[in-house]
Structure formats: C-alpha cells, structure tokens
C-alpha cells in the first residue's frame, strides 16, 4: 500500500492527521493538494512545523497531483493524501481515475452548510458531489480518527 488514506479535511495538516492517522498507519509521507498553499512558501513552512522530520511533506497543486499520483502510489512508503475541499479530490479522481476511496475527515461550518455529523457540515451541492463520486465507484465514508467507526455516505448525505 502506498497512499493509505485519501482525506478531505479543511484543516489540512493538523493533529488528527499527523498523530491520529499518521501513527497507526506508520505514514512516511503526506501529500497536501492545495493550489493556494502550493504557491505560498511561508504557508508551506507553517504546515511543515506540525510534522515530525521522519515524515516527508509534499505540496502539490491539483494538476501536479493528478500527474504524480501514479508515482506516489508506487512509493514503498505509506502515504496520506490530503485536500481541503471536495472539489479538489473530485478533480483528482476525475483526472486520474485512481482514487478508489475517500475519507471525509473534517468539513466545518460555514454559511450554506448544515450539520451532517459533528465534524462534517455540507451544503446540498456538496452532498450531491459526494454522491456523484460514489456513483462513479469511489467508496466514500466519514471518519475523523481511526478509532471511530467509519460512517457510510448515505448516513451523512
């Protein structure tokens, strides 16, 4: 297994990812797919601060991620791929045809969204987007930390 977790989490690299998932998975690289962070060296420095030195952090734009996904999947190390929104992982899935499962790990409140789970708030359009991914064969579940049970898509959309 190379990329063990494809995660949507609007907090990007934070404790749940690095410690909560990173430790049990023994992750050795994290790919952060975010066009804004990819273009901002100081934000990259900030995100690196939260990651221990034994874990490599790769910053990629959505287009770069689509181009390099096969390479990361061949990596003998265990990796985590993170995106901050559904659009990014949907684009990556459509462009690469390689994303088989998506973990919705954290999408928080903002105007237009309603609470679906304690850590998942979605607009109707976002819920439909996740259903469309599932219809394409992607297994979509919600799970904030590995010790929690994964929640099937139909229970939060």
């Amino acid at each position: 297994m190379s990329i063990a977790l494809y995660r949507i989490d609007d907090r990007l690299i934070h404790g749940q990812v690095v410690v909560g998932w990173g430790k049990p998975l023994n992750a050795r690289f994290i790919v952060l797919v975010d066009d804004t962070v990819r273009a901002s060296p100081w934000e990259q420095d900030l995100y690196r601060m939260g990651v221990p030195p034994e874990i490599e952090v790769v910053f990629a734009s959505t287009a770069e991620a689509a181009a390099r996904l096969a390479e990361w999947e061949r990596d003998p190390r265990v990796g985590i791929l993170l995106a901050g929104d559904i659009d990014t992982l949907a684009a990556l899935s459509t462009n690469s045809h390689r994303v088989q499962r998506i973990n919705v790990g954290g999408l928080h409140h903002r105007p237009g969204r309603s609470e679906r789970l304690r850590y998942v708030y979605l607009s109707d359009a976002e819920a439909a987007q996740l259903k469309a991914l599932a219809a394409q064969g992607v297994a979509v579940t919600a799970q904030d930390v590995p010790t929690a049970a994964p929640v099937p898509l139909q229970e939060f959309t």
Partner: protein, 126 residues
C-alpha cells in the same frame, strides 16, 4: 501609558478555557486573557473567533501546538497585523508571567513568554 496587551489562548477542545480558569485562580487577574477553541471551526470561522477575541488591540496569541490549524490560522492573522505576535506551546507558566508583563511590545512579550514557558519545563528528581 499605552493600552495593556491582550493575550488570546488558542487551543484544541477546552484547553484554553481550563488555562484561563487556572490563571484566574492563581493570580486573580481575569481580564488579560481570552480563550478561543478551534472546535467546529474551519480556518475562516477560527479567524473570525480570533479577530473578535483580539478586538483590535495589540495582542499575543498563545497557541497550543507548533503546527496545525490553531497555528496556521494565528500566523495568517498575525501576518496581516502590525501589533499581534504568536507563541506556540502554551503552558500555565508562560501565561502567569504574561499577565504581569503586559506593558511590552507584542513581539517582546511573546519572546518573554516563550522564555518563561521553556524554563518551566524540567525533569526534577523523584
């Protein structure tokens, strides 16, 4: 005399509220610090909470971890302000020192707090 600094404690869950309660219990000072939790927040919502907590005053943001959403949001906010500084690894010792040294510039207060907090981390013989 210029306005005293405000301290904003920025943490996961209820750590900030607990630290504020401890500072108040020990010092009797209850108006120097404001607790902010990142519970339920994306970066936009946390920015709003922090902006309200700072209240347009010169401030030091005391963040729990040297990485993660509390830090990234705090640093983004501080980069856009001239009078806001950030310290990570908040602990009770640095907050106790801070509440009695709020007449410094934010960057100086942040350095002083980091020093006080670091000095409190020891491994005493059992």
């Amino acid at each position: 005399m210029s306005e005293p600094l405000r301290g904003v404690i920025v943490t996961h869950a209820a750590v900030a509220q607990a630290l504020l309660a401890a500072v108040t219990a020990i010092t009797g000072v209850s108006d120097a610090l404001v607790p902010v939790s990142n519970d339920g927040c994306d970066s936009g919502a946390l920015t709003e909470r922090l902006t309200r907590a700072i209240g347009g005053r010169p401030a030091v943001l005391f963040v729990d971890l040297p990485g993660g959403s509390c830090l990234t949001t705090s640093v983004r906010l501080a980069k856009g302000a001239n009078d806001v500084a950030v310290v990570t690894g908040v602990n009770l010792a640095m907050l106790l020192d801070f509440v009695f040294h709020r007449d410094l510039a934010p960057a100086d207060a942040a350095r002083r707090a980091a020093d006080a907090g670091s000095k409190a981390i020891r491994t005493p013989a059992a």
